[in-house]
Symmetry: C2
Subunit: 200 residues, 2 copies
């Protein structure tokens, strides 16, 4: 039990979220799950909003760490598909993430977003330098790819998995981008196939 009480609360909240959706995560149940009173969480988080923002900040940081642990910076294709795999594995966390708008600009959450984005842009610049992706402002290209992935995941989950899987939509985009590049970028066929089977 070396795990801090603070993280314990976040884990309990994530479990409630995954099991029964955002409406089911109440401070009372979170406290109950870790064996403290219904307002003990206020010792660690300023409000329920703060707890939820901290939860997705931690998730995003974990996704970053997973990529950073590799010996080489992954390709943009791998990075975005890793993110999509996380979203498909934990749909309610993803939903919470996209629902959480400014509302106060949570510091940890902003930092986690920036960290992922910086890594993604670096990955794009490398493929641009190798003529695997079209030239142009890498931040702008990042925005296009990120938008497509975000929307594809959102729509796929919102329709209950009845539409085109995100990996295929993302693959289509990279296909069109390849025509703007001098050489075709890798398709990461293995990851795409793995991701396509992640949700029925």
């Amino acid at each position: 039990m070396g795990i801090p009480r603070c993280d314990h609360l976040l884990i309990a909240a994530a479990a409630l979220l995954d099991k029964a959706g955002p409406a089911a995560v109440t401070l009372r149940d979170v406290g109950r799950a870790v064996g403290v009173s219904h307002n003990a969480p206020y010792r660690h988080f300023a409000s329920k909003q703060d707890l939820l923002a901290s939860l997705i900040a931690r998730e995003l940081r974990d996704v970053c760490k997973e990529a950073e642990a590799l010996e080489r910076l992954p390709s943009p294709q791998t990075l975005i598909l890793t993110f999509a795999r996380w979203a498909l594995a934990y749909p309610e966390r993803f939903r919470l993430m996209i629902f959480h708008w400014p509302d106060g600009a949570h510091a940890d959450l902003c930092e986690a977003r920036c960290r992922w984005q910086a890594m993604f842009i670096r990955a794009i610049e490398i493929q641009q330098a190798a003529a695997l992706l079209p030239t142009g402002d890498p931040e702008r290209l990042s925005c296009l790819i990120r938008s497509t992935a975000l929307g594809a995941i959102q729509h796929y989950l919102a329709t209950g998995g009845k539409d085109t899987p995100p990996a295929e939509v993302i693959g289509d985009l990279f296909g069109y981008l390849a025509r703007g590049a001098q050489r075709a970028p890798p398709t990461n066929a293995a990851l795409v196939a793995e991701l396509s089977g992640a949700v029925d």
Copy 2:
């Protein structure tokens, strides 16, 4: 006052939503705004969820009607930018729309979604036939464009308008798609410019 009580409740709910976000729309305040008791809405809607789903179904239907009122079917570029303009004008309604997941598959909402999507696919097929967009499954191409727009709007609004405006992201996508077509599709420069100025 020929307006039905049912619509009156939806309008009041939309006003509360726009003014103070999703947390502020309570059945009690909605009832108060139209001058009825706090549970009169139950005569018209099965639950709060039902009222909210009906609200965005009505919104989506209005967006459809706006396009259908024109003498000719608008281009895919115009359709998607009209949707984006609506989203930027009513960010909280858009947020509610993307937050509303299966949760029961609201009939009116599903119908409105299908109606818009069918119109969009028809518009794509027309440009494909004219060699203005790449060939291939129009439904698949529709999914790519729709995903990009959805994600671009979401990200733009979530960052408080600090990132690339949705119209430019969508424009970039159509630019890359044009390289896969025999002739370049129209860019709808006027609509793009109008939309770019819609949110500071």
